[in-house]
Symmetry: C2
Subunit: 313 residues, 2 copies
Amino acid sequence: MTRPAPEDVRTITCVGAGVIGGGWVAYFLARGYRVVAWDPAEDAETRLRHLVGQAWPALVELGLSEGASQDNLAVEHDLATACAQADFVQESAPEDLELKRTLLADIDAATPPDVVISSSTSGYGMTEMQDRCDHPERTVVGHPFNPPYLIPLVEVVGGTLTSADVVAWTSDFFRHAGKSVITMDREVPGFIANRLQEALWREALHMVAAGEATVEQIDLSITDGPGLRWPVHGPMLTFHLAGGQGGMAHMLDHFGPSLLAPWTRLKAAELTPELRDAVVDGCEREADGRTIDDLVAERDRGVIAVLRALGRA
Amino acid sequence: MTRPAPEDVRTITCVGAGVIGGGWVAYFLARGYRVVAWDPAEDAETRLRHLVGQAWPALVELGLSEGASQDNLAVEHDLATACAQADFVQESAPEDLELKRTLLADIDAATPPDVVISSSTSGYGMTEMQDRCDHPERTVVGHPFNPPYLIPLVEVVGGTLTSADVVAWTSDFFRHAGKSVITMDREVPGFIANRLQEALWREALHMVAAGEATVEQIDLSITDGPGLRWPVHGPMLTFHLAGGQGGMAHMLDHFGPSLLAPWTRLKAAELTPELRDAVVDGCEREADGRTIDDLVAERDRGVIAVLRALGRA
């Protein structure tokens, strides 16, 4: 077994050193890992060290792990040499399916057996990408958000050939590395956060195309509107508070009919009793004993803190 | 002319004292206005004073205006008496079209001529609601976000019978009262922020209905993911940074094809050259001379500040 325990990972190989790959490099360095990077571009090392230098002040401000240093970065010119050293591989190549299928097969051939190979892809499922690997069971999606050195979320999901052990190991590893992990039990195009973000983005594009709102109005409507609530509670608990003391149940029973209104170009899911209960029960589970009054107070403190933090109070 | 200048408004009549109306009452009191409230519910005054008391600590923390006091609230039992005193009326009745049409006509009959009557509606256009008023030209939508005492955004939009002067006056008034105002030049169902928020909400409901994500995963995907960027830059400038140094132009040229992918149930707008340019130009206008590097540094500072503010750094 060449796969270390999640907490024993020391050397991480980052394949691809653009905005996302470079962000991962900076993050892993700040968490005290040794990082080996590979990227086919001529000026990859220069650009990567610039990118890491640019991210470093933010990482210093958030607090470096013991032993963290930009000096722990080695840039290799040969992919196989880079992968041979890995306790864990994070691939962040451009979103091109053919390229990723081939690249993952090359990584797979060069990486010690059992070492986990994770892909930053935002567009593909691992099932589509792992088919040329000899050891597809250790390939998995670990989808970050830009910039990976600041945004905590990583979505972990396997393909049909990925072993359940690898999905669990990868979730544990990212958590150990300080990330906030969502482990998905099935492949969904766009995973979770991108589906939500993309729905908003597409509606925004429609509005610009139709002359209904300008780019500036769209951004202002979020930065000064619901965008202030979302980092506090997320969209579901936020609406749990839109129903007053009745919470999500009252909200769905009262505003359910508005799901039929053309408030967005996206047709709503049918609000069946099952869906209603799933949403209400989910909010109760998430609230975990916090009353509506508790959550209102928490939201108020959170929104004020965010406004202050951004110099807008 | 009984309409005061926006900065000379002293008494605001709030019609409806639920979560939204009560939030308005608290906000206007904190900004130093005298507030007259009316609500048909038996226990309206008790509930309203409780609501205002609950909001007050947050408002104190943000800083009260000179002369602000909960004692400046009067609850009237007669709608006409309440409206007769108004320099400005904010209506926040339940979302029921028939109710609002009748109520606005009653308010219109009781309010001094020319005094502006604004509706908190999130679901209707003023065109649908103002038709029974004798003076529909002074009725306008002023749509807040929950809680109105903390979230700065107000969307202002008139109906077909609303005068342009009233739309301008209302925007000035809300700005003077400390709000962040978007003045829309046309009625769009859901206005702007709700269209965007609703697209996300509907996608979330679909995901729960299809078993693709739990309520908790949906919230976590936003609070620990894109929700941390949105209050800093909004969705458009956020994606301006997803293209690296090439900004939104590179982003659209590179990720444009993904608009065809099933990343959400909402079909995307066709990315015509006109739409591409409108989005790119809008981002440039909004960036207003800030380079990509400037914006990246600003985003990093902002995300760190938000993480810290919420105790998650």
